[in-house]
Subunit: 397 residues, 2 copies
C-alpha cells in the first residue's frame, strides 16, 4: 500500500476520441477516494500546458460534472501534439517537482507512453519518487500488448454505421463510392467496416489497409470485378495505403499540394479519394458515377454514437491506473486483454511503459483475403463485441 503524500496530475494527448474523457474521469473519481494524498491537477493541453504550468485543479469537481464530461467526446482538458524528447521530459519533471506532483497519469497512444517512460527515468535518476502511469487511448487500435484500445470500439461503431448507411445510399443510386478512413499505419479501423456487411451483397465490397502494399492496376481490376458482380462498388480505404516500399500515397500526393503565401503546404485529406476516383474513371470501362468521401475528424469526435463496452472500458482503465497508483506500488501502462470470446470478456493488467512505447502493432494479415483487396468476415468476431450494438436495417426483399 502506497502512502506517499503529494499531488497528482493527469493529462490527455494526441487526437481526441469519443471516450477519452471517460479515462480522465476514471482517474479523478478514484483519486477522490484518496483525497488525503493531496490535490489532483489537469494539464491544460497536455505536456504543452504542463511545462507552462497551465494547470486545472480537478480535486473538488462534483460527480454530476464528472459524469457529464465522461459522456462528452474529445479531450476536456485540451490536448497537445507535442512529442517530448529527453530535454522536454526534464522540464516536465522539474514542473512536477515544483508542484510536489507524485502521481503522473498520461492518457494517449504509443508516443505518450514513450514520453511517460522518459519522465519516469528522469525522476528515478533524480531520486524523486514519482509514480508514472500511461493510460491507453487511440482509435487506431495499434498499441502493443493490448487486445484493443479505448476509443477504437466507438470509432469502429461509427465507421461501421457510416458504411451501413452509405451502402444503402449506393444501393439506391448505384455507382462506385470510395470512403477514406483514418489510420495511417494500422488498418484496424478501416477493417471495422466489415461490420456493415449484414447481407452478402452489402458493401464494403473492397477494403484496403496499409498492411497490404497497394497496386493501382490490381485496384482497378478489383473495382471492375465488383461492378460486374454487384452492379456497383463501395470501397473502404485506409488513409495510409502505399505502394511497395514507398511512402503512403497520401504523403506523395501532399508533395504536389498547393502552398500558401507563408510557404505552408495545404494538407488536403481528400486528395487520396480524388486520386482513386481518377484511377477508376481512367481504368474501368463504361459510364460510371464515381464519388469519394473522406470521413475526417467525425470518426474521432461524433457525439451520441458510443460503444457501451468501449465507454465502460475507457472509464475502467482510468480507475485502474489510479488504483495502482494510490494503493499499490507499481508504475506502468494499463492494458486491456481479452479473457473470453463468446461471451466477450476483458481483463486489465499493468505492463512496463516500454512495452507499449514507440513501436505499434498492425492488423494480423490472417484477416486479409487472398488478393489483398478485402477483409475476411472472420474479423467480425474480433471487432463486433468492441463496436457493440449497430443500427438495425431492413430490406424489402
Amino acid at each position: 500500500m502506497s502512502n506517499t503524500r503529494g499531488n497528482a496530475i493527469v493529462g490527455q494527448s494526441g487526437g481526441p476520441t469519443c471516450v477519452i474523457n471517460q479515462s480522465l474521469v476514471g482517474v479523478v473519481e478514484e483519486f477522490q477516494k484518496h483525497e488525503h494524498i493531496g490535490r489532483i491537477f489537469g494539464m491544460h493541453h497536455g505536456v504543452a500546458g504542463l511545462v507552462k504550468e497551465d494547470l486545472i485543479d480537478l480535486t473538488d469537481i462534483d460527480q454530476a460534472t464528472l459524469d457529464a464530461v465522461a459522456g462528452t467526446p474529445s479531450s476536456a482538458l485540451g490536448s497537445s501534439r507535442d512529442k517530448p524528447d529527453h530535454a522536454y521530459c526534464e522540464r516536465i519533471f522539474e514542473i512536477c517537482r515544483k508542484h510536489d506532483i507524485r502521481y503522473y497519469f498520461y492518457i494517449g497512444g504509443n508516443d505518450s507512453a514513450d514520453a511517460a517512460r522518459i519522465v519516469n527515468e528522469v525522476a528515478r535518476d533524480a531520486g524523486y519518487e514519482l509514480r508514472v502511469f500511461h493510460i491507453p487511448k487511440t482509435i487506431d487500435n495499434d498499441l502493443r500488448v493490448n487486445d484493443h484500445t479505448p476509443g477504437f470500439g466507438t470509432a469502429a461503431k461509427w465507421v461501421a454505421s457510416a458504411f451501413m448507411g452509405d451502402d444503402l445510399d449506393n444501393r439506391s443510386l448505384p455507382g462506385v463510392k470510395i470512403n477514406v478512413i483514418m489510420g495511417r499505419n494500422a488498418g484496424f479501423l478501416t477493417a471495422a467496416s466489415v461490420l456493415a456487411r449484414v447481407r452478402e451483397d452489402c458493401g464494403p465490397h473492397l477494403i484496403y489497409v496499409p498492411e497490404v502494399d497497394f497496386d493501382e492496376s490490381a485496384f482497378v481490376a478489383s473495382v471492375a470485378r465488383s461492378i460486374t458482380q454487384f452492379g456497383r462498388c463501395v470501397i473502404a480505404v485506409s488513409e495510409g495505403i502505399h505502394r511497395t516500399g514507398e511512402k503512403p500515397l497520401a504523403n506523395l500526393l501532399a508533395e504536389d499540394a498547393p502552398v500558401d503565401s507563408h510557404g505552408n503546404k495545404l494538407l488536403i485529406g481528400a486528395a487520396l479519394g480524388t486520386y482513386l476516383q481518377k484511377l477508376i474513371g481512367d481504368g474501368v470501362e463504361g459510364k460510371l458515377r464515381v464519388r469519394s468521401d473522406t470521413f475526417g475528424y467525425l470518426q474521432r469526435c461524433f457525439p451520441g454514437v458510443v460503444s457501451a463496452v468501449d465507454a465502460r472500458e475507457a472509464r475502467e482503465v482510468g480507475r485502474i491506473a489510479a488504483r495502482y497508483a494510490f494503493t499499490g506500488d507499481r508504475d506502468g501502462s494499463v492494458v486491456i486483454l481479452r479473457s473470453n470470446d463468446d461471451p466477450y470478456q476483458s481483463v486489465y493488467d499493468l505492463t512496463d511503459l516500454s512495452d507499449v512505447a514507440r513501436d505499434t502493432k498492425h492488423l494480423d494479415l490472417k484477416y486479409v483475403t487472398e488478393g489483398g483487396d478485402n477483409i475476411d468476415d472472420s474479423f467480425k468476431k474480433y471487432v463486433a463485441p468492441l463496436a457493440g450494438e449497430l443500427p438495425k436495417v431492413g430490406f424489402l426483399r
Copy 2:
C-alpha cells in the same frame, strides 16, 4: 369516398434521406387497409424503373418487414435522378394505363412534384382516371408551401451533432476548421449548425449560406476576427456559396477539375473546402492549423441518428397521401405546416402539385446576421423542434 378500383404505384426519387422509407411504408400500410382496390406496386429505381416496367409488388408485405424498412435510411425501392420531360411523362402514363394503375404516389423534391404534375395532366388529357400524389422529401428543406420537409430534421440533427463533436475536437487542438455542408441552393441545413452552439464560445463561429453572396476578403477578415476572439475558428459552409452574380464556387472549381480518360470531369466535393483553406493560409497572419472536411453523403444516410419528430412526420405524409387517395377525391402534394411554436405542433394539408413543383424556397434573410457571416441564434427556435434531441455534452468549467 373514392370507389375506383385498380392498382396503385409508389416511387422514390432523388437523393435519399434517413426517413424516406417512412413515407413509403406510410403509403403501403394505408393501402393495406383498402386492399379491395387492387395491388400496390413499387417502382424499382423510380420513374427510370417504371418506364422499364421494373416493378416490385408490395401488396402483401408484412408489418414487421414494413417497420424494419421504415427505420432504415435511403430509398428501399431504389431511386433515380431522371427528370422526366413531357415525352417521358407520356411513357410513364402509358405504363400506368397498361398495368391499370389508378393511384400514383411519388416521394421526392420539387422536380418530382413537377413530374407528378405532368403525369397528372397527361392522364387528364387522355380522360384516364389517375389520382396523382406528391409526397415531400428533401434534406434541403426547400419545398414551397411547406414549413419544413421530411428528411430535413434528421439531417439537421446529424449536422448539429457533427458540429458539436467537431467543435469539441477543435477546442482540444485549436485551429481553423471548415466543414462543407450539403445544400446547393438553400442554406437551411448549413444554418442548422447553429444548434451546436450550446455555449457562447462554441462553434460554428462563422456560417455561410448560399442566400448571401460570398466575398473572399470579407471571409478572411471574419476568420481573423474569430481567431482573435476565440483563439480558433470553426466554420460551416454551404456547398452552394457563390460570389455576387456568379455560379457556385464549387461549380467554378469543378471547371478546373481533372478529366478522366473517357472525358468525364472528376466531381470533387472537397475542392471547395480546399479552396477556402488556401484563402485562409494566404490571407490570415500567423502559423495556423487549417483543415477542412466535406461531410458528404453521410448527411443523408447515416443510420441510428434520427429525429423522432422527423420520422413520425415522414410516416404521416405517406399515410395522409394514401388516405386522400383511397378515401377522398383530390390530387396534390402533401404539405407540412407548423400550427404552434411552443410546444411545437404541425398539421398536414394537400396543395396543388404546381404549388411545390419547379421553384424552391430559400432561407429567410432575417436569420442572417449583419455582415452575412453568421446565422442568428433566433434560427434555433425554427430548427430545434425539427432536429429533436441532441447529444448532451459537459464541460469541466
